[in-house]
Amino acid sequence: MDEKTLIAKRVALELRDGNLVNLGIGLPTLVARYLPAGVNVFFQSENGIVGMQALPEEGMEDDDLTDAGGGPIGAVPGACAFDSAMSFGLIRGGHLDVTVLGGLQVDQEGKLANWMVPGKMVPGMGGAMDLVSGARRVIVAMQHSAKGESKILKRCTLPLTSARPVSLVVTDLAVIEPTPGGLLLRETAPGVTVAQVLANTAADLIVPDDVPVMPITA
């Protein structure tokens, strides 16, 4: 199983039946494929729908039904559409149970940077700041390192997405939970040792005596 699949599968285990979930573009989108049996969730797309799903097949596109990237999607029976103010009312008002977002950096306090690299990439924050400030649970799904450098740092060097800590960080090496006391190592990926996680993490980690392996099977 490749790293992205591993991350997506582990994140999927965090979703509960009936949850309203918003998946960011890229890796987080994969989470939808790995919902555990018996867990039915509603996916929101912040451009204005609850109940999005993948397009069933080519040739079924509707020009008026797209995801936040502008790509064609489908909708489940019972989907509902609304304007942007309502869409972010759901996000900011605490109605969104879970958002899964990509990350550039996460710091020791659990704060996320994922929307810009000054001088290089200034795409705009889109809905990311509202999602991180408003969702009940914010799960970061990302590679643990990029170009050999840890993305989990003592302090983010990139501009923050929110001053609010995220709820959980899932990487190809570990599951890490930001707590008031610091970053808690919750799980390691299959075949990865605690020592490997520590070696690849630039932030301090709280390591309990027993660190279970992610309950992921192929």
Binding site: G48, G70, A81, D83, M125, G127, D130, R164
Partner: protein
Amino acid sequence: MSKVRTLEDAVALIPDGATLMIGGFMAVGSPLRLIDELVRQRKRDLTIIANDTARPGQGIGKLIVEKLAARVVASHIGLNPETQKQMIAGDLQVELVPQGTLAERIRAGGFGLGGVLTPTGVGTVVEEGKRTVEIDGRTFLLELPLKADFALINAKRADYLGNLEYALTARNFNPIMAMAAETVIAEAQDIVPVGVIPPDAVVTPNVVVDLLVAKERRHG
């Protein structure tokens, strides 16, 4: 007093330098005919308030490529490298606003509110230069209302009076923008007689729509 205008006449009302709200999200739900006509009439120095600048050849992206915009207020410009290029070159002023804040600022403009108090952006670069308000021990940013000279709206259906109905994710910013501009110009995929759209299906009331763009003649 009919609200119907030809595409050309409707856009002719917009002066250079105008502030425009333009509906749509990555061009979905954008008023594409109105945008094309803005390009054809070469309206310049526009301030564009919109969710995004789409892609270069698409929707609002065309206004960027044609260098008709002097200023953009948007939440996302990442899929239009031309916007970023002009911004970095200093030819285009860009204000980036969190998407939910953008929606509420536009709504506040149209709903007569003095501003928006949002937790989004507190403790980030978005906070710079803004007032904060403490309420029950929590900090909120005071974000100011947005208004425009014109709102350019895309609807699924309009009736002769200008009542508007939207479709799925093409709704997005259109209904709130239709409340926040001095003059509201709507284009619709279908125009139907009064009474065809039932009262509960109307999302934008006719009374806020000033002009309705006539359909192109298909016959004769």
